[in-house]
């Protein structure tokens, strides 16, 4: 798993924010999310040996105003709550994802749960 794309995504967003707000320097971001500036730099350059922990990625995404699920996906992870959802019914969700994977966005977003009509 290459973390280059994750690093580039996080860095581009941080730099965009830094142009108007110095609080988005690497060192200040690092302090806020409880990591070292060197760590931030390493991840942004795609040089980390492994993806940061979920808690770190979530804090990082929140700080930069990024979607958590997107950041986690770039790191090869899914959030614990989604993981649990899939774990409860793995066959169902695997089948669903396979069927949906090639559909355009608007088709997927129209998935509708119907009210079941029984016997009465």
């Amino acid at each position: 798993m290459s973390l280059t794309e994750l690093g580039r995504y996080l860095r581009e967003r941080r730099l965009e924010l830094e142009t108007s707000d110095r609080d988005y320097s690497a060192s200040r971001l690092a302090r806020r999310i409880g990591k070292s500036p060197a760590f931030i730099s390493q991840v942004e350059r795609g040089e980390a040996r492994s993806a940061p922990a979920e808690e770190t990625l979530v804090a990082w995404a929140d700080d930069l105003g990024l979607d958590r699920d997107v950041v986690l996906a770039l790191a090869g992870k899914i959030s614990a709550d989604l993981h649990e959802t899939i774990r409860k019914r793995p066959r169902l969700f695997a089948q669903l994802l396979r069927e949906l994977q090639d559909l355009p966005d608007h088709a997927v977003l129209r998935l509708v749960r119907e009210v079941r009509d029984g016997e009465w």
Partner: protein, 351 residues
Amino acid sequence: MIELKRELHPVGGHLDRLIFSFPELHADAVLTVRFQRTLRVPDDGRKYPLPPGLGSFPLRHVDDHGERVPEAWRRHGGVMLPMHPAEALWIRFNAAYPFAVKVGAGKINAITGKRWDAGRLAGGRAQNFLTVPGQSFLDGFAGGKAVTLQFVAMPLGNGHTVEEQITGDAEYGGLQLQVFPLRREKWEEIKRAETDLMEVLAPGPRIHNMLRYESESYEPEVPAMGLGKGGQVEQKVRKHTWRLVDYATHHTSRCFVHLADARAWKAITGEEPPPEPTPVEAYTEAGLPWYAHNGSPHDAVEGSKALARLKTVKEVAEAKGDPLPGNSRVSPARVTTLAAWPDPGKARSEG
């Protein structure tokens, strides 16, 4: 197809609704149904204007709480909503495309008082359905020419409900809806014709839950409720103008809406129920608005003698030596007139 759309209101409360659609017939064939909290009008022999909408009831799939609901509900499918004993409701219908809608309470037709007749539309003097658009809301059973007898929820098994008085059994409870869309080609004709819309919507205030009361911590054994007759509301059930053959009766969707005793709602769903209903006296003394719907030029159905003969919830309660409060006369000082077009329901209720 029926979808339960859940939404939270921006300032609190729910905007949950049922959406009936018939995409196989026409993309425009969409009907939205919402169940509105309201005031219980006094059952004092007087006719009252339309009480306000005080927020939508929350709606939930029965399947999501399958182990905690009666086995009969699982068999029926459908959805459920919480009501406090002696709480009233009205139903809001919203569609541009024409539909025929049958409404039942405990599988007793709310317009005719006859037992539920699956799939069949009857017209003329035996009309057993509502026409939407046109009928933006239904507050109760069709008891007379321009009068409905308010829908009031009571626990099943004590003889209060219309179903129990007619059938002798407390089998179904709840509300039943069956929807029939107009034929596609008739709709296309309407769209091609020019329509001259001169009436203007008279906006009304948006009323939210004004007064909140603590719920009792009591959990009934059987959470099923049914609907009995309450006080009188000045309301017409409009006669149909489309012929029965104009409806695509082979395209139909139906939904069972179970009424759960609000005191059992938390045990069933894990969620707090809505607060106890606002007393009609407090609302009226506060000078808050009631509504009148004068715009319709269409005739009203005659109403059901069978329904008119039944005892109201108040009368059953009195006979049991357990009188129901909230039946002293009130005098609504502020009555807002709703225009007929395009959608008077929106001015009367939230969202």
